[in-house]
Amino acid sequence: MKAKVHVTLKPGVLDPQGKAVSHALQSLGFEGVQEVRQGKYIELDLDETDPAKAREAVERMCRELLANTVIENFTVDLEG
C-alpha cells in the first residue's frame, strides 16, 4: 500500500522558506496571500498490506527519520 506523509513545522517555529515565498508572491503581484508555510510531502510504496501495521511502521519512520520532531509535526495517510 501507499503512505502519504506530510511533515510541517510546528506552529510558532520560524519558517524562513514560507516567509520568502510569501514575499515573492507579493512582488509578483499576487495580492491577498496572508501566510505561507512550507513543508515536506513524502510518498512511500510499502509491501505491507495491513493498514494498522503499515501505519505503525510509517509513524516509526517519521519519528526516526522523516520528521524532526523537535520542530516538526507529521501526519500519515494510507491508501490502497
Binding site: P16, Q17, A20, V21, H23, A24, S27, L28, Q38
Partner: protein, 229 residues
C-alpha cells in the same frame, strides 16, 4: 565594453566576479540591483553565484522572477552575452533562458572543491580561449548542481552542441565516477542555441590568480574581452 553584474538579495559571489571582470577585462562592471527596471545597453551581463532569496523554495526560482530579469531576458533576446555562474546558472534555467533544471546533488551534500572539466566546445565567445577537449580545473561550491533535462531536450542540446563543459577526470575521461553531482551526461555548463548565453555550475572567478591556487578561470574572461571589444 560595458558589463554588469546582477545583485539579488542573497547573492554572494557578486563582488568576486566583479573583481574578475575588472581585473581581467579591464572594466569595472556596473552592479545592477534586482529591482532595477531600466538597464542601459550592455555587452555582457553576469548573473553571479550565491543564495538569491536564500534559495528557498527552489534554487534560483524567486530570482528568476525579479524585475531585473525581465531586462536581462530582453537583452539576451538581442544577443547580449549572458554568463550565469552557479546560482546564476540555476536562475537562467528557472527564467527559461537555458533548458533543463538543476536539482539537489545526487549525494545530497553541499560540495566545495576543485573539479576537472572537459571543454566540449571552444567555439563560443566564452570559451574561445580554451581548446576543444582541453581539461581545466575550476572550483565548485553548490548544493543543487545536478543537471536534469528530459530525453528529448537532452538529445537536442547534445545534437546542437550546446554542452560547454562536462565533469571529467584530470585526463579528460568523462564517466560516472567523475560526475560529482549526478548531472545528466555529466553536464557542468550549457549554452543556449545561439551560444550567447552560458550557464555553468563551476566558478571560473575563483581561480584567477596564483594566490588562490591557479589561473584556469582567466581564459574565460579573456575570451569575452576579445570577443566583445
Amino acid at each position: 565594453m560595458k558589463a554588469a553584474v546582477i545583485v539579488f538579495p542573497g547573492s554572494n559571489c557578486d563582488r568576486d566576479v566583479a573583481v574578475a571582470v575588472d581585473r581581467i577585462m579591464g572594466t569595472k562592471p556596473i552592479m545592477l540591483w534586482h529591482r532595477e527596471t531600466e538597464v542601459p545597453d550592455l555587452d555582457l551581463i553576469v548573473v553571479p553565484g550565491g543564495f538569491s532569496y536564500g534559495d528557498y523554495l527552489r534554487s534560483g526560482a524567486m530570482a528568476a522572477h525579479s524585475p531585473v530579469m525581465r531586462e536581462v531576458k530582453a537583452q539576451a533576446e538581442k544577443g547580449v552575452r549572458v554568463l550565469g555562474i552557479c546560482n546564476g546558472f540555476q536562475i537562467l534555467t528557472e527564467a527559461g533562458l537555458l533548458p533543463g533544471a538543476l536539482m539537489r546533488n545526487r549525494g545530497l551534500k553541499f560540495i566545495c572543491k576543485d573539479v576537472h572539466l572537459k571543454v566540449e566546445s571552444a567555439g563560443s565567445d566564452f570559451t574561445r580561449g580554451y581548446r576543444d577537449g582541453e581539461v581545466v580545473r575550476y572550483p565548485v561550491a553548490h548544493h543543487d548542481g545536478n543537471y536534469f533535462a528530459d530525453d528529448e531536450t537532452l538529445a537536442r542540446v547534445e545534437g546542437q552542441g550546446q554542452v560547454a563543459f562536462r565533469y571529467a577526470h584530470p585526463d579528460g575521461r568523462v564517466d560516472d565516477a567523475a560526475n560529482i553531482n549526478g548531472s545528466r551526461n555529466n553536464i557542468a555548463g550549457l549554452f543556449n542555441e545561439r551560444r550567447t548565453v552560458l550557464g555553468l555550475m563551476p566558478h571560473p572567478e575563483r581561480l584567477i590568480d596564483d594566490h588562490l591556487g591557479g589561473t584556469d578561470g582567466v581564459p574565460m574572461f579573456k575570451s569575452l574581452l576579445e570577443a566583445l571589444s
